[in-house]
């Protein structure tokens, strides 16, 4: 083979390999990076119905692939994001959106946590108020209690306790 022939063969081989690679991985229909970014963004807002805790962008499910293709086709046909979202909601319901819309049936979902927070706050405030009132009205000094505490601290058992201790000790023995 002449050198020129060899170079020609190499070029042909490179062309074949490159062509094969192109055929195996077809270039996206929309090479514009802006559209790619927009699609990526949209796909992360949409739920895959098959593996429900994944977005369309993350999911490897067959249906997710189909829906990504569908979203791409709609975007290429000039539909805006809201129209694409509506298209999917019409078929799969609000569940397909990761961000549920605010409407009458979702009021509880959106406002429930705040209602609970405010309710909890009110209860907490009332408990605090009651405690404050109780501590304000309660006697701050109890002489009898202090005497008992002092007796305990000095390790001097109160007069009635030895008798009680004795019965406590004999009781299990009697049981046997």
């Amino acid at each position: 083979m002449t050198p020129r022939g060899r170079i020609g063969a190499w070029l042909a081989m490179i062309a074949i390999v490159a062509g094969g690679a192109l055929a195996a991985d077809p270039p996206p229909a929309a090479p514009s990076p802006a559209l790619e970014a927009r699609l990526k963004n949209l796909e992360t807002e949409l739920r895959c119905l098959v593996c429900q805790n994944q977005t369309l962008a993350d999911s490897n499910a067959d249906l997710a692939g189909d829906l990504r293709r569908e979203v791409r086709e709609l975007a290429l046909a000039g539909r805006n994001d809201a129209e694409i979202r509506d298209y999917l909601v019409a078929r799969y319901g609000d569940f397909v959106l990761y961000d549920p819309p605010l409407k009458r049936t979702t009021w509880l979902l959106w406002f429930g946590p705040f209602v609970l927070l405010v309710g909890g706050g009110i209860v907490w405030w009332q408990v605090l108020q009651r405690r404050q009132r109780a501590s304000a009205s309660a006697p701050t000094h109890d002489a009898a209690a202090e005497a008992r505490a002092r007796a305990l601290l000095e390790d001097e058992p109160p007069a009635s306790s030895p008798a009680r201790d004795a019965t406590a000790r004999t009781a299990p023995r009697r049981k046997r």
Partner: protein
């Protein structure tokens, strides 16, 4: 406020909250999160015109079925749970109560024909949705699924997953009878 009524309140409010919470959790426990309610119920069934599986020269369109109550069963030869409901579909087809049309979803025609030859064919006709586009229009996300469509072409019921005896007897067949009148 008297002492006894505050005491009662102190017990009854947390108890009521607890009971409500328990009720929510109990109901939630019995629900299948995979069953996403279809927004198509009460809306016109998405129109299609597709090639018939057994007769690729002919098509079937939703407009051909106007005036009839019919079931659309989404199936595929690769679908494992379709085998679970298949005996029921065969039984239903034998009663001739309601025609069942099959939507062969994302399947190869050869595989589908072989599958029906092996397991029996309950369908009045099967139509081919090889790229799953009609499936998307119907909000299909887990095969099998079954739609009940009335004379005016409105979707009245959707069964997600295999048909069951209970679903047929308690929901689908009574609804079919009511819609056929």
């Amino acid at each position: 406020m008297t002492g006894s009524s505050t005491k009662l309140l102190r017990w009854s409010i947390p108890l009521a909250v607890f009971v409500v919470l328990l009720a929510f959790l109990w109901v939630g426990l019995g629900r299948d999160p995979r069953e996403v309610p279809s927004p198509l119920i009460g809306k016109p069934a998405p129109a299609f015109q597709l090639v018939q599986l057994h007769d690729p020269g002919k098509t079937l369109a939703t407009s051909d079925l106007k005036g009839k109550v019919w079931l659309l069963n989404v199936w595929a030869s690769w679908c494992v749970s379709c085998r679970v409901e298949h005996p029921l579909l065969l039984q239903l087809a034998r009663t001739n109560v309601v025609p069942v049309y099959g939507l062969d979803y994302k399947d190869k025609a050869d595989d589908a024909l072989a599958w029906l030859a092996q397991h029996g064919n309950p369908y009045t006709a099967s139509i081919v949705d090889s790229d799953g586009k009609v499936g998307i229009d119907y909000g299909v996300y887990g095969v099998p699924e079954t739609f009940l469509i009335d004379k005016a072409g409105v979707v009245r019921y959707k069964q997600i997953g295999p048909l069951t005896v209970e679903a047929l007897q308690q929901k689908i067949l009574p609804l079919v009878r009511q819609l056929q009148q």
